[in-house]
């Protein structure tokens, strides 16, 4: 296990709250522009977060005029900010239900290349008939099937990352050979849902295996997280529930024959901070008056101190290894993390400084993995 308390932030649109775009400090007209996303990533980097989670899905927009129906591709956002915002990991969600694992593998490897080793991804499933209809290739499936397919997709993505050994490019002028083809590997994956031959068209990336982040909420998702996740995200209404969720994840990791201490469990925390509890509450009430949002996980609508106390308690009590802060409003919610929350976490010794040039795997204490195929052709 790495060090201390992990901190991730989720950034999407104007914030998790559906009415967030109506606040005076929101930028609803800029949601599709690069400067807006660069600005959010800079705030995340300034907050010292281990990574920015960029959610994505194919869930089509509804027809409610007061909701923001925009959704940019998350890998595109991460790649756009990668060269100009350093010092923070980038973890876009990528759906695996209707998409091609071959494309996903090279996209995330390339994100790792353009970010100099700061890439991860969160594989997500497409559950709804509406999403299935956008592809028209197969009907929506129940969770058990969705996650079985997701496990195959993750396996293919990871195997393709290994399909090039690190030293495959040899540039041997004497024999005229650019690559040593004994160091390129067919993955020959065959499963219930698809088969993929390989090798990838993209060489092995700086981290070799960009971080795999998976949700561990559903029973059907747990075996996949247990087998493949480097980091698991959970939702829980309170710390007691979070504690149980973390134990379930650790049991799934152990069941897959891995060491539970190698997998960090991060608790989602929806956050809206104010100078005092009352003003934070009033801000939320104003948003809820437009469009009510039920909490999806533990929520801190309070002060920076209250959030820091909650994070410290969560980690000290074994309820989580860290948190994913989900700001209800952006960019203001993230600015307060950077300005008010992180300095307090540092003061309490919960967030040691991170050296420049650190990879995302480094931040989680994960070594660069050996290649699954090494020696296979020897």
């Amino acid at each position: 296990m790495g060090r201390g308390t992990y901190l991730a932030v989720e950034v999407s649109g104007a914030g998790r709250h559906p009415a967030a775009w109506r606040r005076p400090d929101a930028h609803p007209e800029a949601l599709l522009t690069a400067p807006y996303h660069v600005g959010l990533a800079e705030l995340a980097a300034r907050s010292g977060a281990d990574f920015v989670a960029v959610p994505d899905s194919f869930a089509p927009p509804g027809d409610d005029p007061d909701l923001v129906p925009l959704r940019l591709d998350a890998v595109a956002i991460a790649a756009r900010v990668a060269p100009v915002v350093t010092g923070v990991g980038l973890v876009p969600s990528v759906t695996v239900t209707h998409t091609e694992p071959f494309h996903t593998s090279k996209a995330i490897a390339t994100l790792d290349i353009v970010s100099a080793g700061r890439a991860g991804w969160e594989p997500v499933v497409s559950r709804t008939p509406a999403e299935a209809e956008l592809f028209g290739r197969k009907p929506a499936a129940p969770p058990e099937e969705l996650w079985r397919e997701a496990a195959d997709a993750v396996e293919v993505v990871v195997r393709l990352w290994d399909s090039w050994e690190d030293d495959a490019v040899i540039r041997d002028v004497a024999t005229g050979r650019y690559v040593d083809r004994d160091k390129l590997h067919y993955i020959d994956f065959t499963g219930d849902f698809f088969s993929v031959k390989g090798p990838s068209i993209t060489p092995r990336s700086p981290q070799a295996h960009p971080l795999v982040v998976l949700r561990g909420d559903e029973p059907e998702a747990l075996p996949v997280a247990g087998r493949w996740a480097d980091v698991v995200r959970v939702a829980a209404a309170d710390l007691a529930a979070a504690h149980s969720a973390r134990q379930r994840v650790r049991a799934a990791v152990a069941a897959a024959g891995r060491d539970p201490d190698d997998v960090a469990v991060l608790l989602d925390v929806e956050v809206l901070l104010g100078a005092d509890a009352g003003s934070a509450r009033r801000e939320l009430d104003a948003l809820d008056a437009h469009h009510e949002l039920a909490a999806s996980s533990l929520r801190v609508v309070h002060t920076a101190d209250a959030l820091v106390d909650m994070i410290a308690e969560a980690v000290a009590s074994g309820a989580a290894d860290g948190v994913t802060v989900v700001p209800l409003v952006l960019p203001g919610g993230l600015r307060m993390i950077a300005d008010d929350v992180t300095p307090r976490l540092v003061d309490r010794g919960l967030r040691p400084p991170v050296a420049p040039g650190t990879t995302l795997r480094d931040r989680f204490g994960l070594p660069r993995p050996a290649n699954h195929f090494t020696g296979a052709n020897a």
Partner: protein, 456 residues
């Protein structure tokens, strides 16, 4: 500003074929992001219309094994283009994306995302390779009969355009007071029912700063040309000589009226190589060196095996052509590269005659002679002059330059040839707009109609 026809330039990042010289000491990484930054920023300094990335979705094989003599491996097209957008401000960003192994809704979202995040600089080169060999990497598999590949390409393009243009231009109002983000009930439902795809739903993005990405086409068959004439904003052609270029230009532009399009609606850009020297002699000498580097002894044999369809590894690359004839059954010796089917016996006969006529060329010399001629060789002024002549005489509207070195292959051209083109009044001296459609002089697309030129 003169009334002279203006040259359009694009830059092809050197890729996975033997044009790219990896054995040169100056040759850098093919995948490090720094190489892409250097190359793209050089193109932007040269005021190019766009950067261009090719794509191949399966590593090429030769005689049943991965072809190891050329550059192998490249980053993901869309991801690296999004990253390049961060280090450039005006340069168009053109990516090759296959129409067979992608689904329209996903592709529409990915390309529109690149176009939004780059401020309207995206271009899509639609390619139709549909072979089962490549299909082994995909859910879809290699399911398309060759004659269906442009049916699918047309349908995927129609579908993506429907999605891209499904929102009204002024749909987003973001009215905080009234609580209306999108007026008139939000995004409309797009329903597509076709032979290749059947889908329905709302798109998650409005039209981009340039409407939608610029469309490039590079197929060369009759069906490919027809597809290009009907839908493309730019054509990437392989007809590089003056005569062949003029014939292709006439043919392609002649197809446009059928679709209600004008000559100026489509920009024709042949793949173009160049070598520059201080004197004509020096340039010729350098060009010969580059050709030798592009055709190593091993590469010469591999090229020969492609035509002969058999194992020729025992032949001496510095010796004469084989006495044995090509094996007509052996045509599938190379996989994963675009093949233009030919009568191999006729090619062999032609090559033997050529080798003989040139005083007994060796295998390697013959392959250099037949495959590695550069388009333009000379001093900066001579190269500029030749390029200008091509464009003014309607062999093309410009060029997609394919340098032989990563990442510095474009440096000298930008420093020395671009000013000559500017002096001739044939090339821009500054960017006058920020979108790729603006650079190409194209109007904003409207739903239903293919793209048209800006008025005036």
């Amino acid at each position: 500003m003169t009334g002279k026809k203006q040259i359009h330039l694009a830059a092809h990042f050197p890729g996975v074929n033997n044009t790219t010289v990896w054995s040169d000491p100056e040759s850098g990484s093919q995948t490090d992001f720094a190489s892409f930054v250097h190359f793209a920023q050089t193109a932007e300094r040269g005021l190019f219309d766009f950067l261009f990335l090719a794509e191949g979705l399966r590593l090429r094989e030769h005689r049943g094994r991965i072809h190891d003599l050329d550059v192998v491996g490249r980053p993901d097209t869309l991801t690296v283009l999004n990253a390049i957008a961060a280090v450039t401000t005006h340069l168009g960003l053109g990516g090759t994306l296959n129409t067979t192994f992608n689904e329209p809704y996903e592709l529409a979202k990915q390309l529109a995302s690149l176009d939004h995040l780059s401020g309207g600089r995206a271009a899509w080169n639609l390619v139709t390779s549909s072979d089962a060999f490549t299909g082994e990497n995909f859910r879809r598999g290699g399911f398309l009969r060759p004659e269906q590949r442009y049916e699918r390409a047309q349908e995927i393009l129609d579908a993506t355009r429907e999605l891209w243009l499904s929102w009204a231009e002024d749909a987003v109002v973001a009215d905080r007071e009234r609580g209306v983000f999108v007026r008139d009930g939000g995004a409309p439902v797009v329903e597509h029912r076709g032979e290749q795809f059947s889908f329905a739903g709302r798109f998650s993005l409005p039209p981009t700063p340039q409407g939608h990405p610029v469309l490039i086409q590079s197929g060369d068959s009759d069906a490919g040309r027809e597809f290009g004439a009907r839908t493309a904003d730019a054509i990437f052609s392989r007809h590089g000589t003056l005569e062949a270029g003029q014939a292709f230009y006439r043919d392609l532009k002649g197809r446009l009226p059928r679709y209600g399009r004008a000559e100026r609606d489509v920009t024709i850009l042949p793949a173009t190589t160049f070598v520059i020297g201080d004197t004509a002699e020096e340039a010729e000498g350098l060009a010969a060196q580059v050709r030798r580097a592009q055709v190593s002894p091993q590469t010469a044999i591999a090229f020969l095996e492609q035509v002969w369809g058999r194992d020729l590894s025992d032949y001496d690359p510095d010796g004469p052509l084989p006495d044995v004839d090509p094996d007509p059954e052996g045509v599938s010796i190379t996989r994963g590269r675009v093949r233009h089917e030919k009568d191999t016996l006729a090619v062999a006969r032609q090559w033997r005659e050529l080798a003989e006529a040139k005083g007994g060329l060796s295998i390697r010399e013959l392959i250099i002679e037949t495959t590695a001629r550069q388009s333009f060789v000379g001093t900066p002024r001579q190269v500029a002059e030749q390029m200008d002549t091509y464009v003014q005489e309607n062999a093309s509207d410009g060029f997609i330059l394919v340098p032989h070195l990563v990442p510095g292959g474009l440096d000298e051209f930008v420093e020395r040839v671009v000013p000559e083109l500017q002096d001739r009044g044939s090339y821009r001296t500054e960017y006058t707009g920020s979108t790729l459609r603006h650079h190409l002089g194209l109007a904003r697309p409207t739903a239903g109609a293919p793209s048209a030129r800006a008025a005036g």
